[in-house]
C-alpha cells in the first residue's frame, strides 16, 4: 500500500514537472520544473532500493547540470518569456511533433513487444533487503563494463579539453583582427 502511494505521488510529481518544462513561459521556471521531475525520479529510485542512483541523480543532475542550465539562462539574458510563435526554421514545429510522437511510439512499441525486461540486462540496484548497492554497482562497473566506463571518461576529458580550446582567444596574427580587437 505504501509502495503504491509513493509510486503514485512520485509519478505525479514527475509528470507535472515534465509538463511544466514544456509549458512554462519563462525558461527559469522550465529549469525548475526539470528539477522537480528529477526529484520525482530520485524518489522512484529510492522506492526501488537503488539509493546510490537516487543520490547521484540529485547530486549530478539536479545539483550540477541544471545549475549549469540556469547559469546559461541567467547570464545570456534569455530569462524572459519568449514568443513561441517565432521559430528559426519554417518546419520546426511540425518536425518537433513528428520526432516526439515517433520516439513515444518506439518506447510504447518496446514495452508492448518485448515485455518486462526491456534491456535484457539485470538491474544493478541491489536486492531488496539491504544488500549494498554501491558495492554491486562498483563491481560491475570496474569488471564487466570497465572498457565502456573508461571510454566514457575519455570522452568527457576530450569534451573538457575541447571546450577549453574553443574558448581560448587565438594569438592575433591576422592584422585586420588586431586592428579592431585587442581592447588597448
Amino acid at each position: 500500500m505504501v509502495d503504491t502511494l509513493v509510486f503514485v505521488a512520485a509519478a505525479v510529481i514527475c509528470l507535472v514537472g515534465a509538463l511544466g518544462v514544456v509549458l512554462a513561459r519563462n525558461p527559469v521556471h522550465s529549469a525548475l520544473m526539470l528539477v522537480m521531475t528529477l526529484f520525482g525520479i530520485a524518489v522512484q529510485f529510492v522506492a526501488q532500493e537503488a539509493h546510490f542512483l537516487a543520490a547521484v541523480q540529485v547530486i549530478v543532475y539536479a545539483g550540477a547540470i541544471v545549475v549549469l542550465f540556469l547559469f546559461v539562462i541567467m547570464l545570456l539574458g534569455v530569462d524572459r518569456a519568449q514568443n513561441l510563435e517565432m521559430s528559426f526554421l519554417p518546419v520546426q514545429k511540425w518536425a518537433a511533433l513528428l520526432f516526439a510522437s515517433g520516439s513515444l511510439a518506439v518506447v510504447v512499441a518496446l514495452i508492448v513487444v518485448v515485455g518486462e525486461p526491456v534491456t535484457g540486462v539485470h538491474a544493478m540496484g541491489g536486492t531488496l533487503g539491504g544488500t549494498d548497492d554501491v558495492r554491486l554497482l562498483a563491481r560491475s562497473l570496474f569488471s564487466d563494463y570497465v572498457y565502456a566506463f573508461e571510454l566514457t571518461s575519455l570522452l568527457l576529458v576530450i569534451a573538457v579539453i575541447g571546450a577549453v580550446v574553443l574558448v581560448r582567444k587565438p594569438k592575433q596574427t591576422n592584422p585586420v583582427a588586431a586592428e579592431d580587437g585587442g581592447g588597448t
Binding site: H29, V58, A62, G130, V134, T184
Partner: protein, 397 residues
Amino acid sequence: MTGDPLYLDGVDLVDIGITIAKVVVAFTFLLVATMFMVWFERKLISDMQNRIGPNVAGPWGLLQTFADGVKFFFKEDLRPENADPLVFRLAPYISAVTAFLSFAVVPIGGSFGGGSSGTVTIFGRETYLQVADPPIGILFLLAMSSIAVYGVMLAGWASGSKYPLIGSVRASAQAISYEAALGMATVVVVVLAGTLSTHGIVAAQSGGFTRWFLVSSGIVPFIVFLIAATAELNRPPFDLVEAEQELVGGFHTEYSSIRFALFFLAEFMNVITMSAIMVTLFFGGPAGPIFFGMTWFWPTIWFLLKVLAFLFVFVWFRATLPRLRYDQLMNLGWKLLIPLILFWLMFISLKELRATYNWNWVVTYGAAVVALAIGASLLTMALRAGDRAYQEELEEV
C-alpha cells in the same frame, strides 16, 4: 549495514512516535542552537575586537537573537517590482529546508566502543540517536549542499536587480568549485570507513583517539575539508558572496522581514551542521570517555563539545582573516586544493589496497612516488603555462 534497528521488525505506532519525537527534538535543538550560535558569534567577535557586543536583552545579551527574530516577524515584507513573485518566495524556503535536512543524518550520540553499536533504548526500543540513517548517508549530505545552491541562486535571480544577481552568480560558482574538493575529502573518509552511512563511519572510528579519521587519514583531508567547508558556507575569509563593499548584501539584498530571517537562519544552521559533519567524519562523532556508566549521556556531551570547538574556529576565522579576492579564491580551489586532495585520495586508496592484497612495500610505494613525481611535474608545467598566458594577456591590455 542493516540500518536503524528501530525499523527492523516491522513498524508500529511506538516506532512512528519515536521517529516523530526524534524529528521534533532535532529540529528544536537546531533552532535553539542557531539562536545561541548567533549570540555566541556576536559576543565572541566583539571580545576579539575589544568591544562589548550585545548586552541589553537578557543576561549577557543572551536573548538578543530572540528579540531580533521577533522584530523580523513584525517587519513589513517587501517585494521588489521586478521580482519574479513565485521564485522570490520559494528561494528562502529551499535554503532553510536543505539546511535542516542535512542535519538529519548526523549521529548526535550513542556509545560505539566496547561491542555496543551506538544504539540507545527508548520506550523499550533500540534505536540510533540520529533522525535517519540512509545507506547513502554522506551522499545525502552532499546532495543537500548541492541543492542549497538553488536557494542562493534563485534568490539572486528572482530579485530582479543587479547586485543580488552578481552575488548569486559568485555564490553558485564558488559553491560548485569547492564542492569538488569537499566531496573528494569525504571520499577519503569513505574509502577508509568502507561505508557511506554516517552511522557506519562513526562506528569505524570507535576504539580510541588513534582510530579517528583525523589521524588515520593523515590530517590533509581534514584541512582540505575545513577550507572547502568554510568556502561552501560562504563564511569569511570566503564571504565575497556578500561582500558589503562591492555588492551591498549579495543575494539577499532585496529580502526583508521573515524571508531574510530564513536566509539568516539557514546560514547559521549550515555552520552548525557543517561543524557536526566534520566531527562525524574526522573526530569520531560522539566518541569520548564515559564516566559513571551513563552510556547514553556522555557521548552526546562529547559531541556537543566538539561541535562547539568548531563553531569557535569558524568565528575565529571571521575575526582574523581578511577576505580573498575572486581570482585568489578560484586559484586556491582549483589549483591547490583539488590536486592536493586528488593525490591524497590516490595515496590513501593505494595504502588500503596494499594492506588488502599484501603487495610488496617497496614496489608499491616506489611506483606511487614515480607516478606522483610525473603527475606533479605535469601539473606544475600546466600551471606555469597558464600563468604565462595570463601575464601576456595582462601586458597586452
